[in-house]
């Protein structure tokens, strides 16, 4: 009779309790794996952004105020030898919509020459870059958008701008970006936009953001200060931010879902710990006498300890399995990015998230079994045998 | 002060274990007059508890009839029997079965909550019942603050508080020492002699049996002996 056998027998003894516990554990666990996936994904994006060493330069009062395109040269002039700064890419908000669709896409016109360098997370190969430079109407599209509208490389697509003067432009997809950090972006050549604006009679070459790619973190810090100093006091004062700070404006403004998810993850851990702890207390109380008998017939304390703790761990892992696997499967089959809701569009179950979820389940199992297990060590055989269940 | 007579005719009762029939009572006939004090003896497994449960309407016979007072239990629905039981039967268990979280007084009050009754009246009745069992001073104690004998007395108070016609006791002294047992038996006897209750007590204790006016021996589902005797009261 192995320990495993005893454990299984114990769980089968009160099947309804085992089932209820497992389900009560599995449901919050399902939330946990989703929440932690979200957190992990955002962290990964944050890290990948941090690796990009980009600064966002925009108008001090608001993003919607454009800065004249000549600012790019002025920024570049701060570091003529390019020791600190690698490249600057100006971007202008287009706010395009697929005709007859409600969603405004995160569509931006970018400087053709520097975009592939500054947005290296777009993952453009040499041939991609060639196509991008050759084709006046080239656009690179994030995977979430491409999947939603079933676009593939070579397709001609049309977007209608939602900002004055509400241009309708045609593009040709040259690249689909798979990196999660750009899965919801649509980039095209700014030159094309400015020319079209000129044709429409509203020439006014401006950029909403200048992305400044730096060589190192120190360079980034230096430039962040220097750029703002350069323009301070002028009518074109700027604010220069880390990419993560810049983006947090948007996640915050969309309700701070990452914050909600983090809070949920904590609440969920508390709940499952309580659920598991509760079951272990009940099960221990009912079995006090039996454990005493084990002890009386010569089971080592360590073994009894292992029996109690093992049951808790086993229960937790079963609950985790039942909660995590279907959730992960669902998230894989129906990627949340289809919702096109900024903060969670990057939600994908990663192995990290799954490992983290199991680790939490294991920890909860251990912790909640610990108290009864310690109680079992203190069990006075004679006392317990006398105690009426 | 009320009492009921009891009449059993051809009562059969079997249990089934894995489709195997275990006959317990096999055509039992019995008449108990109102106000009688009957002791029921017999080896373990002979069907004493089963019989008591039938008398209380907790269970139904497979065949035959059980009449207690006006009630023909074999033809009553569970709901009717439950309602009837609350009014006509007082049951005393071997293990007392007091609610551990309630005081003696509250335990005794439990059956009264099924009646439309003012709380003043309830209090008065509980007071009387506790007085009968001699536990007025323990009214506010919890079961775990009482001795076994006291617990059983509370249980008896609970059984008589509704003023039932019949008191059924299943080995009420089975868990008590000799001295306490005799106190409990005195009490039951008092209920019989002073209040005229019909009492059926299951016991293994010869001394308990000796106090009864009538002694029934049950074995393998039939009465082996039925002795009427002069109760040697307070011997």
């Amino acid at each position: 009779m192995t320990l495993g056998y005893i454990l299984m027998q114990n769980l089968r003894r009160n099947p309804s309790r085992t089932a209820l516990t497992v389900v009560a554990f599995a449901l919050p666990m399902a939330i946990f794996v989703a929440a932690i996936s979200c957190v992990v994904a955002l962290k990964e994006i944050g890290e990948s952004n941090a690796k990009q060493l980009r600064l966002a330069v925009h108008d001090k009062t608001t993003l919607t105020n454009g800065l004249p395109e000549r600012k790019r040269r002025e920024i570049e002039a701060l570091d003529p030898d390019r020791k600190r700064l690698r490249a600057v890419c100006g971007m202008r908000w287009f706010g395009g919509r697929v005709p007859d669709e409600q969603n405004t896409l995160t569509s931006l016109a970018a400087d053709v020459d520097t975009f592939p360098v500054v947005y290296s997370d777009a993952g453009m190969t040499e041939t991609d870059v060639e196509a991008w430079e050759r084709e006046r109407r080239a656009c690179v599209v994030g995977r979430a958008i491409a999947e939603q509208y079933e676009w593939s490389v070579g397709d001609r697509v049309e977007l209608h701008s939602t900002v004055p003067p509400y241009l309708a432009l045609e593009f040709r997809v040259v690249k689909i970006m798979t990196n999660p950090s750009v899965a919801n972006y649509f980039f095209f050549r700014r030159g094309y936009l400015e020319e079209s604006l000129k044709e429409a009679g509203s020439e006014n070459p401006i950029c909403n953001v200048f992305w400044v790619k730096c060589h190192s973190v120190e360079d980034l810090r230096w430039l962040q200060v220097e750029i703002d100093r350069l323009f301070a006091g002028t009518s074109e004062a700027t604010k220069t931010e880390d990419e993560s700070v810049f983006k947090s404006r948007f996640t915050q403004a969309m309700g701070d879902l990452p914050g909600l998810m983090e809070a949920m993850a904590v609440v969920v851990v508390v709940i499952i710990a309580l659920v598991a702890g509760n079951t272990m207390m009940m099960s221990f109380r009912e079995r006090t006498r039996e454990l005493a008998v084990f002890k009386a017939i010569g089971f080592a304390s360590g073994r009894i300890f292992a029996i109690v703790l093992g049951e808790s761990v086993l229960l937790s892992l079963m609950g985790a399995l039942i909660g995590i696997v279907p959730t992960a499967a669902i998230l894989l089959v129906f990627p949340v990015r289809r919702l096109n809701y900024g903060p969670i569009s990057s939600l994908e179950v990663s192995s990290d998230a799954i490992i983290a979820s199991f680790a939490i389940a294991l920890t909860v199992g251990l912790v909640s079994g610990l108290w009864p297990a310690i109680q079992s060590l203190r069990l006075q055989t004679t006392d317990a045998l006398r105690r009426v269940a | 002060m009320s009492a009921a007579d009891i009449e059993l005719r051809e009562v059969r009762k079997s249990y089934y274990k894995d489709r195997l029939e275990i006959p317990v009572l096999q055509g039992l006939d019995l008449e108990i007059e109102a106000g009688e004090y009957v002791a029921l003896m017999g080896p373990s497994g002979s069907g004493k508890s089963t019989l008591l449960h039938l008398l209380a309407g907790l269970d139904r016979p497979d065949g035959g009839s059980v009449r207690v007072g006006e009630a023909h239990l074999e033809s009553m629905s569970e709901r009717e029997r439950t309602r009837w039981r609350s009014r006509h039967i007082g049951f005393v268990f071997q293990m007392y079965y007091l609610v551990p979280v309630l005081t003696a007084q509250q335990n005794v009050e439990l059956p009264l909550l099924l009646f439309r009754m003012s709380s003043a009246e309830r209090r008065e009745r509980v007071g009387t019942a506790l007085d009968v069992v001699g536990l007025t001073d323990r009214a506010d104690h919890r079961p775990n603050q009482l001795s076994g004998g006291e617990e059983q007395r509370v249980a008896i108070a609970r059984a008589i508080v509704t003023d039932p016609d019949v008191i059924l006791a299943d080995e009420p002294t089975g868990d008590l020492d000799a001295k306490t047992s005799s106190e409990i038996l005195d009490l039951l006897q008092l209920l019989n002699s002073e209040f005229g209750k019909t009492i059926v007590i299951v016991t293994h204790d010869q001394r308990a049996a000796d106090r009864a006016r009538r002694l029934l021996h049950l074995d393998k589902g039939v009465f082996e002996r039925d002795e009427a005797r002069q109760a040697s009261s307070a011997s």
Partner: protein, 393 residues
């Protein structure tokens, strides 16, 4: 209810740990539920205030919101053709308000200014106060050329908006405007805005076009037919009633609430299972007590009710605790929140608060959870074979 409440109460606490742990599970779920309800209510209140169906917001065709719309003065003037617009009894003019919307980035007070919000700055004329009827402002409605007034919600949540302070607006943020007063808008979205004089702001932002026009429909006018005329060849703009406008802007908010609601639903279900577990153990631990009650005349139904009541009691304690925790969280950690409209890119600020309706809703939810959790165990107790239970050792 046959058994006294005291009996249930005491029985619950006869098993302290189990009961306590279950209560805490429920409290955690209710805490989250309460917060979410508060959030939902705050938004709904705010948006329903905005939902004035007699008010039309007119924007440029092809734009999605006031913030990306540009309406030239000529286009604006064409609106005066509309006959179904209410007339101002004082001036005899039609109630059409030209407006310009820009944004200013302001620090959130909630996180000590670590993050910034895009706050809407609206250039208005005197007529705006008549079109937007829920806006109430005590001071002079002809705003000075270098002064702005601030919505109360904005003043509470974003930095630098005290009366007497100056805020730098205009292109490049070089034109200081003095804050001279606060206005309220019944908690609607305009309360998250800053208002200044239309012409002064247009000047500061080098703009020659308005963003939008708001107009108030005349008595008996049909919004739909007015909108058709606005979209027709004579005017060539587009618009929506304010109700529909905000409904469209609430898309992200709805997704957010959907997600939060889904999470709460899953957790409530977990709470049901957790309670069921506890109640099964309660029933199992009290078989003989139930048998005794049945013997002394309690019916199966009464026993069933007893356990349901016990479970609801347990849940209610958890519910009250959860509401308290949620209230404490809101008052200690913070109750302010802001969100973008789906396409406006301007911020809607609101305050989450516990009110009696939310507490009531939480307690109702928790009672339902309690009943659901108790049902199967209680049925088991009611169906208990008395005779068999009495025989148990």
């Amino acid at each position: 209810m046959a058994l006294p409440l005291r009996y249930h109460w005491l029985s619950l606490f006869a098993r302290k740990t189990t009961t306590l742990l279950t209560i805490l599970v429920i409290a955690a779920v209710v805490g989250v539920f309460g917060w979410m309800m508060g959030f939902h209510a705050a938004l709904r209140d705010s948006l329903s205030v905005a939902g004035d169906s007699r008010k039309l917001i007119v924007i440029k065709r092809g734009s999605t919101a006031e913030s990306n719309s540009a309406v030239s003065p000529e286009e604006f003037n064409r609106l005066h053709q509309l006959s179904d617009v209410q007339v101002d009894p004082e001036t005899g003019e039609r109630l059409i308000s030209p407006e310009m919307l820009v944004q200013v980035s302001l620090p959130r007070l909630r996180d000590g200014g670590a993050t910034f919000a895009n706050v809407a700055v609206r250039g208005v004329t005197k007529s705006a106060f008549k079109v937007h009827q829920n806006v109430s402002f005590a001071g002079n409605r002809t705003l000075g050329s270098r002064e702005v007034i601030v919505g109360r919600a904005a003043a509470e949540q974003f930095g630098g908006l005290e009366i007497g302070e100056t805020i730098n607006l205009g292109h490049g943020g070089i034109r200081p405007y003095e804050i001279t007063g606060y206005f309220s808008a019944d908690g609607g979205p305009m309360e998250s805005e800053i208002w200044g004089d239309l012409h002064s702001l247009m000047n500061s932002y080098n703009r020659s076009r308005y963003s939008s026009a708001s107009l108030r429909l005349g008595d008996g006018a049909d919004a739909k037919s007015v909108l058709e005329r606005i979209e027709g060849p004579a005017i060539q703009l587009t618009g929506a009633t304010e109700t529909d406008y905000w409904d469209g802007q609430a898309k992200w908010i709805r997704i957010y609430i959907g997600i939060a609601g889904g999470l709460v639903a899953v957790m409530s279900l977990a709470a049901v299972f957790s309670i069921a577990n506890t109640m099964y153990s309660m029933v199992a631990g009290r078989t003989r007590e139930v048998a005794m009650l049945r013997t002394i005349g309690y019916s199966g139904g009464q026993v069933l009710w007893g356990f349901v009541i016990e479970s609801v009691l347990l849940s209610l304690i958890g519910g009250v605790l959860g509401c308290l925790a949620c209230g404490a969280w809101l008052s200690l950690v913070g109750n302010t929140k802001d969100m973008f409209g789906a396409t406006t890119f301007t911020t809607l600020a609101f305050k989450i608060s516990m009110n009696w309706r939310i507490v009531l809703a939480s307690l109702i939810l928790v009672s339902v959870v309690g009943v659901c959790g108790a049902l199967l165990p209680a049925v088991r107790a009611a169906r208990l074979e008395i005779v068999a239970a009495l025989r148990e050792p």
